[in-house]
Symmetry: C3
Subunit: 429 residues, 3 copies
């Protein structure tokens, strides 16, 4: 019995866990060379993650109706800009100025003055890499609330989110705060970025309410047709591309045999999880609905990517496929649950980022023996609860003061005409 | 006479061949640093090649009619996903598990367990780089068959192509099989990727037949208008961008003076071949048809890129321009030949990848003295014949069993509505 | 008084200037490793800048009317190709073959034959990096003249611009010519690339005249509506992405602690300037016009990027925000001035590249104590005057011979149908 158990465990390990690396060996690389490699990793992975901003923009432009596309474009370029400014103004130091095991850092602008000679990478390259993560969190919120939110209240929320909310909870873990002390593990942010952004989006969607007529006229029908499937597809491909930077850069170093090997493994697992997500949702939608739903395939890719993000290094290729595939299936189920709850998530960001993010974080102990289910649950719960509750408060204040919802008339005309003053696609034969 | 001949040869060399490098010098770089550089090259070039997937997707979305755009989007994200899964499941080991000088490797999943310490790069980074090449081959097939193929039979073909057909013939050369033993040379895959994919597409196009009414109503007319020229343009630019990874990464190393210099030369030649391709086709179409045909310019860029891919290192800049320009002209001629043969290639993938790929491979001996025309012909012929015949068989089996062609009614409604259940562009004023 | 002055200066320095780096220390990196790092920097940053070509293409495709989109696509892929060919044929040697402190290099094709062993990077990687800069200059001209220029005269102008005009003035500074000798400073080309391209565009716009009916029917109205806001947004994001290569690569080296740190700082300042540009224009347009003008936000990002390009290293984050924000405001004012002067700049390239470029170059002494306002003015004035006058001459010759303006009838039908023979968006339900 015991023997069978061990055999099962061994088989399981073989199937699910990446071959363990050799014990860490002293690096033979010159320290200045290591410094350059590490900095280069942050810069390359940083520009890849920066490129996720247009990825989200195109995905959302493609999935909203043609009357709200210019608003989405404006919101996406603004939120990336706001994130850059706010993360400099206070975000970085709120996250990384945290005392060991603590809860919050300090409100102060980031300064590039760190003496780098004693460090293993340029401080600025790390700031850049962390900043684009912060922007990603805000991107997640944008799509859910499309077509009925006023853009300036959204900008204000984005400023609070990127300058204060995201950095605080992120510091709990990556800044060495209390969650890190508890042993929580979230390699590249299934929870700290994705579930956090998804929770903020959920809070907004509840307070904002659904688009006019969205749940009164019955199921999702033509008036809500996605404006451009190719742009949405481009967006997902761009996100996938950027995700190599997102997960790969989270190795945080490139100066040793081990680091180079680890980043390679991360690239492979990240990719396989997304591949599985696409095909799982192709099969599910074909079998259930008769049609192969391309939007669900796109969101399947994202569900797979979000799920593998908490632990892209330890899993075997086969485990990565399983984690990603389940993440994608969760997106299908989650979308249907949200619809039943009459929560209107225009692009499916809540199932993709919140639900698949939770799944990915909870799944870490399956392949990473250094983590426990209890700690993973604690971390996920704390972050999601914090982000949901505080976001709800911020949205509520905005709603009670300047208002967050466009008028029914503006929704009829479209937010583009009402708020931006343009038509997004002016195509004449 | 003899002197004149030598002078001619010298002039020829000066014009066409890159200045020969100094005899290879012992590298002074620390081995661990070399390992990191090589791995980094595979990862960077790998993500560039990965990005060719959306390049193909946008090119094809742009060139098909607006009724088949969502299907093309679905096919492109699916084929990239299928390639990733299949190349893991058996593709890699079929190619690289080949005995020296042999014909086929082994059917087994790839495992990331290689001991890397004795190697000069992370095994995983190589897998990733090779995987994205495999996906490229499948992308080529997608566009040719657009607008009248059922998507699930296409998925099945893509699985066979990426899991079995591509890896087998690729292993003949890059896995150290019989073609490599014969002295065949194909630096980055004019034949192994492009002509191979083009041959599979040709087999499919023949068995599938043309789109309904394509050759009965006379020439290509409005009903077949490209849905979006800007998306097609974006696609080609993205492919061009990715091609730096495709050809540059095929140097396979970045740890020495020579490697860094070689990759730089490859970047330049790759770029010049595409530049020449664009302008040659601009001139040809303007002179012949009176209009400057932007689609032919786009395919000219690709024809130039495909042609230089077999040997992007040895040519002088001027030779690269000639090779690329001729590749583009071949695309114009080839497109017209296909149309006369009533073979319906929606995006021109056969002239671009098969015809220009053959040209590029056969042209290698012009600038690379280590190759012969006979061996280049042998390699090209073997690969094209193998891919064409076996693909024909696979398509035939699919046709005889589940069927590969959508009904005339579905073609009238558009494959998007029939198979995916959406309209690709829902644009309302 | 003196004390207060010094205190003010100190505060000012603290606010505006990046902390000075430690005195340059001898690098400990192996020379071959340095060679590889430097070459890699040129290649990575080069492909990022290459990707600005589709960035410009999408921005312009998005901002012109739907009847001129295919022409813009054709012009953009052609100008990138022409730049590649011409920069090889004579451009590089015109710029870098210049005598020290001189005015012009030599007319001769570039050859890849440099012995690299004594150099600190592969000569080819530098050629590639400089070539994509040259192409950028031509991209700037394309959008301004859209919708009423014949494409072949444009191609000819692009050939002269990229082969002769751009290289001559660029050699004055970066080739070590007379401007460099005077102490002019333009880190990545606010003047040498952006203002230069903008001046050539202005010359063309004046000689070409506005679009038919552009200033007779009153303000900019529906007939000139931007064809696709999402494509324009994508274009700006892609340009922003590419700009990290544009400015980061202009550090020209990655082989030391200092270089790695400097490039990181450049990334941050580049990003913050663009962020500020977006939000400044969001506020301005919302306050003045009542609507949040997304196109002005996009051009605000570009104005910020152009402005920081002359000196992305010395400014503190706060100074970068100020420089970028002012650059964006200049775009708003400049657009309005051009409209009053009845100069028709379809995409706003003149305010973005010429006006913000001048601002950025003149602002260098604020943060870089090694420069003076007088020298900056001399450099900017010389380059802009040279480019404007000579371009005017070239456009005049083209106008007097083959003609540069499409007929009114062709403008009515659209340049796409008239010159390319296609419809750019063929969307049918």
């Amino acid at each position: 019995m015991k023997k069978t158990g061990m055999l099962l465990l061994a088989t399981f390990s073989l199937l699910f866990v990446s071959p363990s690396f050799a014990a860490e060996v002293q690096s033979t690389v010159n320290p200045e060379t290591t410094f350059i490699f590490n900095t280069l990793l942050f810069l390359i992975c940083g520009f890849l993650v920066m490129f996720m901003a247009p990825g989200f923009a195109m995905l959302e432009c493609g999935l909203v109706t043609s009357k709200s596309v210019a608003s989405i474009a404006a919101k996406n370029i603004a939120l990336y800009s706001i994130a850059g400014l706010m993360f400099w103004l206070c975000g970085y130091n709120l996250a990384y100025g945290i005392p060991e095991g603590g809860y919050i850092g300090s409100f102060s602008p980031w300064s590039d003055g760190t003496d780098f000679a004693n460090d293993s990478y340029a401080a600025g390259s790390d700031w850049y890499f962390q900043m684009v993560f912060c922007a990603t969190t805000a991107s997640i919120v944008s799509g859910t609330l499309a077509e009925r939110i006023k853009i300036w209240p959204f900008f204000l929320f984005a400023a609070v989110l990127t300058g204060i909310l995201y950095p605080i909870q992120m510091g709990w873990q990556w800044g060495g705060g209390w969650l890190a002390a508890k042993g929580f593990s979230d390699f590249a942010g299934s929870t700290l970025v994705h579930a956090a952004g998804g929770a903020a989006a959920l809070a907004g969607a509840i307070l904002l309410g659904p688009r006019m007529g969205r749940f009164t006229k019955g199921a999702l029908t033509t008036p809500y047709a996605a404006s451009s499937i190719p742009l949405a597809t481009l967006g997902v491909f761009v996100l996938w591309f950027g995700w190599f930077g997102f997960n790969g850069g989270s190795q945080l170093a490139l100066g040793t045999f081990d680091d180079a090997k680890s980043i390679s493994t991360i690239f492979i697992n990240t990719n396989l999880a997304a591949c599985a997500g696409v095909m799982v949702n192709a099969v599910i939608t074909r079998v259930i609905g008769g049609k192969t739903d391309v939007v669900m395939m796109l969101n399947g890719a994202l569900g797979g990517l979000v799920a593998i993000t908490a632990e892209p290094l330890a899993p075997s290729p086969f485990a990565a496929i399983c984690i990603g595939g389940i993440g994608a299936a969760i997106v299908v189920i989650g979308s249907s649950v949200l619809e039943k709850l009459k929560i209107d998530d225009v692009v499916g960001a809540i199932p993709v980022h919140l639900f698949a993010g939770i799944w990915g974080t909870l799944a870490v102990p399956i392949t990473n023996a250094d983590t426990t289910f209890a700690t993973q649950f604690l971390g996920t719960f704390s972050v999601v609860a914090f982000m949901f509750v505080v976001s709800l408060g911020v949205w509520f204040i905005l709603k009670s003061t300047i208002g967050i919802r466009t008028s029914d008339e503006a929704q009829k005309k479209g937010t583009d005409v009402a708020e931006i003053g343009v038509v997004a696609y002016a195509i004449r034969d």
